[in-house]
Amino acid sequence: MSFARSDDGPRIALKILVAGGFGVGKTTLVGSVSEIRPLRTEEFLTDASVGVDDTRGVEAKTTTTVAMDFGRITMRDGVVLYLFGTPGQDRFWFMWNELARGALGAVVLADTRRLTASFASIDYFEQRDIPFVVAVNCFEGAHRYSLEEIRDALDVDPQVPVVTCDARDRESAKHVLISLIEHAVQHSVPAPG
């Protein structure tokens, strides 16, 4: 019997998060650069959604499941890069801590028409010292701002890379990931002293 297959399962798993507001292109970015896989997670119905979903007569805590963006890039020697889109709505904040633990870094996808939608993600990764890059998804019809203007508006540290991208384009999405990992390498070098 022979098991001559290249996929012997992951040996080293690296985790990258893709964050950003609703509709900013997270699903598109994950899909253009990685092999997307179906993944569901529980959604706990809290006060925020109880008014919407009819839960009368249900005494136990109710859960329902939602799809998550999940993609894999399999490399040589069992190194696998896992991409997770962080759920955008407020009621998913509880999941972020679980996803962020041990993450190599994060991509904050931004849309210049709604930059404020990126603030929460940027604050989150800054506070936890998780390396991140801001990738501005260039939607057609959106006004093009210079990267400096965007950096000023987002008020990110000078060492945080701010890049433009087209989330639909594989090369562009690759460039975003490479920028992030290069930044993570810098980040991983301990400061002198």
Binding site: G9, I12, M75, A103, K174, I181, P190
Partner: protein
């Protein structure tokens, strides 16, 4: 009374809806794992030990154990079994307690990943 270990009041409306079984029905009523929280990309592998006589595995646990003949991350298991992440975490936790699977690698090399590894990843991404 129907036991939760062989639950198949499972009905399907259609492919998209999935099985009509509450997540806690698959985990014996447990909503939270007991042990340390497992990372979503922790790598698991079957221990190869035989299932003890007194242990009754659910159908989902049997499928999970079969997949873990080779290394699998928690996220990949959930995807492959089409079960919600939280359910898989609880099922895995029980198999860990029973010594039927082991954590091959607890989590992504977190705070200070090896820069050499990262440079290799960059090279491979460029070559994709």
């Amino acid at each position: 009374m129907q036991s939760w270990t062989d639950p198949p009041g499972e009905r399907w409306i259609d492919e998209a809806a999935g099985p009509l079984v509450r997540p806690y029905a698959l985990t014996g009523g447990r909503a939270r794992p007991r042990g340390e929280p497992l990372d979503i990309v922790a790598i698991l592998i079957g221990s190869g030990r035989p299932v003890p006589g007194h242990v009754r595995l659910t159908r989902e646990q049997q499928r999970l154990l079969a997949l873990c003949r080779r290394p699998y991350t928690v996220a990949d298991l959930a995807s492959e079994l089409d079960l919600p992440l939280g359910v898989v975490v609880v099922l895995v936790d029980e198999l860990l307690e029973q010594g039927l699977i082991e954590v091959a690698r607890p989590a992504a090399p977190a705070a200070r990943p090896d820069p050499r590894l990262l440079r290799r990843v960059i090279d491979e991404l460029r070559a994709l």
